[in-house]
Symmetry: C2
Subunit: 320 residues, 2 copies
């Protein structure tokens, strides 16, 4: 038996719930339930670009899958099947076991089967393709926002960026705040239940991976609308109590990536349903602004008086 | 607009034929036709491991997709949707254009839509997930071979390995032979039409990516049978006329990966249908051995008198 085959079998073959045929053949075999279509997304995580070398492998395994499940959540799709391709400089059994444990923790938590993949020698990088199921026609696209829709954000965006800044030593956080910010960075929680519950309520949605303003720009562009964020409505409090550096806090919330919170638009009529959903999921949902028919693709930040505030950075771009 | 977004739009967004929603949202949306299931496969190609640095980007684009479509072919599935994740050290517009042209040449040739993906900064590597459609229950697995089945191989295995040896300077090939062997390495032809036509004829199938004997071992193991290859039945002639180094020729055909020919088992009763299919597709199909109920997982090579021949190497393993 080849070393590669043995490696895959030892670490990456676990029982499956949704799949006709899983790892070990040329392909996996899957099928959506009647009346459903499939949402498909791929993300590659590269050492030094998406995570710091030396990141705890168990947390990295979780995150590698979580960022992909977040893309499914951002369409309202339920996770079903995933593939994983791993490039490794060498076989380190302890590292692989921990990585696989984290990956399967996340898979089990959100109901995804690992159905196939690839292992190869090379610089450390990880590529997941996630396939989710959604009722035909129910997917929430970026392009569906309407003039007058409210803009909402889930959870506490900005923590992951503060966590990264703390790991890099550019900000100081106290013990508890540091732990929760680093956890937000290294073990993000894909908002799968929220995404699924928002079908029929949200008109447009995206997950915040590159930065709140940058990702809102994607909705504004796809929906051909303007977006206005009310600075005072943003959830500043947790970040401000964690960190005294107000510049770092503003940058983290407005332009920090890697939180994987859901940013969505919904008509005013959905307000009460969203409040009830927030209580049901025990997950904060904050109304932070409004879509309007102004300059398409524009994203503005305004103060209480409606005056536009300057923004130095809107998000992260690997190639800028 | 971000540089990454612009990069994707400029090179990787082309018209689609099978997809409800393609690149540009959090996920693509796809659905199989009624009565069909989906075959899913992922492969990662890493510079220096799977291809030589400096490989022509157009050929690399073709191969990146072709090796995945070959996995679909090896189940009998028809290519439909693919995602592509690219890690790049820097943005080189000419390289990307050539890579995309090769990738889309292959996609158009075999009817696949590029529906999503990712671009990121990092060492050059390429990860494709390919999704194909197949009539429910018709997929050809590795595990279906029966005692007495004939073993067949398509095309001319071994050319890609000779091409790699020629590029590395370890063998000398004359001009025409060198060109065809390097083309077999850099622009492999996934046997999509053959794979689809073999549903109902072949009992087990795999594509030769790691080496003929190694890949036959996967069928033998999955089918719990023994496999015997008749050395004299193997298609030696083209390789022997291309290269005077008999050791290199033997190693290329028996253990050379990267040809992406289909290796399959079929009952004796399928013989005439396979001969007719070979003529119809203008693709050689060679009967090279027999499956039997001997020691499970064993793959033997025998001479005309049935004596076992020694084999030094059976295939390529990234981690051995």
């Amino acid at each position: 038996m080849s070393a590669e085959f043995d490696l895959i079998r030892r670490h990456f073959v676990r029982p499956m719930r949704h799949s006709a045929l899983g790892p070990g053949d040329d392909c996996a075999l899957i099928a959506p339930r009647p009346g459903h279509e499939l949402a498909v997304t791929s993300d590659m995580l590269v050492s030094g670009t998406h995570f710091l070398p030396g990141t705890d492998p168990r947390r990295l395994g979780w995150k590698t899958l979580a960022v992909n499940l977040s893309d499914l959540a951002a369409m309202g799709a339920a996770p079903r099947w995933v593939t994983l391709a791993v490039s490794l400089p060498q076989v380190d059994d302890d590292w692989l076991k921990a990585f696989a444990d984290g990956f399967f923790d996340c898979a089990a938590r959100f109901g995804a089967d690992l159905v196939g993949g690839d292992t190869t020698r090379g610089p450390l990088s990880l590529c997941v393709t996630a396939i989710g199921e959604i009722a035909h026609g129910a997917a929430i696209r970026r392009s569906g926002a309407r003039d007058g829709d409210h803009i909402w954000i889930s959870g506490q965006p900005g923590q992951a960026a503060l966590g990264l800044a703390a790991l890099r030593g550019t900000v100081q956080l106290d013990g508890d705040a540091r732990a929760s910010c680093v956890a937000a960075l290294e073990q993000p929680q894909p908002r799968v239940a929220l995404g699924g519950a928002l079908t029929g309520l949200a008109s447009a949605m995206i997950d915040v991976s590159d930065g709140l303003l940058a990702d809102l720009g994607h909705i504004a562009r796809a929906s051909r609308l303007s977006a206005t964020i009310h600075d005072d409505a943003l959830p500043w409090q947790t970040l401000q109590s964690a960190c005294g550096d107000q510049g770092a806090v503003r940058d983290a919330l407005l332009a920090g990536g890697d939180d994987y919170e859901l940013l969505f638009c919904a008509p005013a009529s959905a307000h009460d349903a969203l409040r009830a959903l927030s209580r049901q999921l025990a997950l904060p949902l904050t109304r932070i602004g409004t879509m309007d028919a102004g300059t398409p693709s524009r994203v503005r930040l305004t103060d209480l008086c409606g005056r536009e505030l300057a923004v130095t950075r809107r998000g992260y771009d690997h190639f800028s």
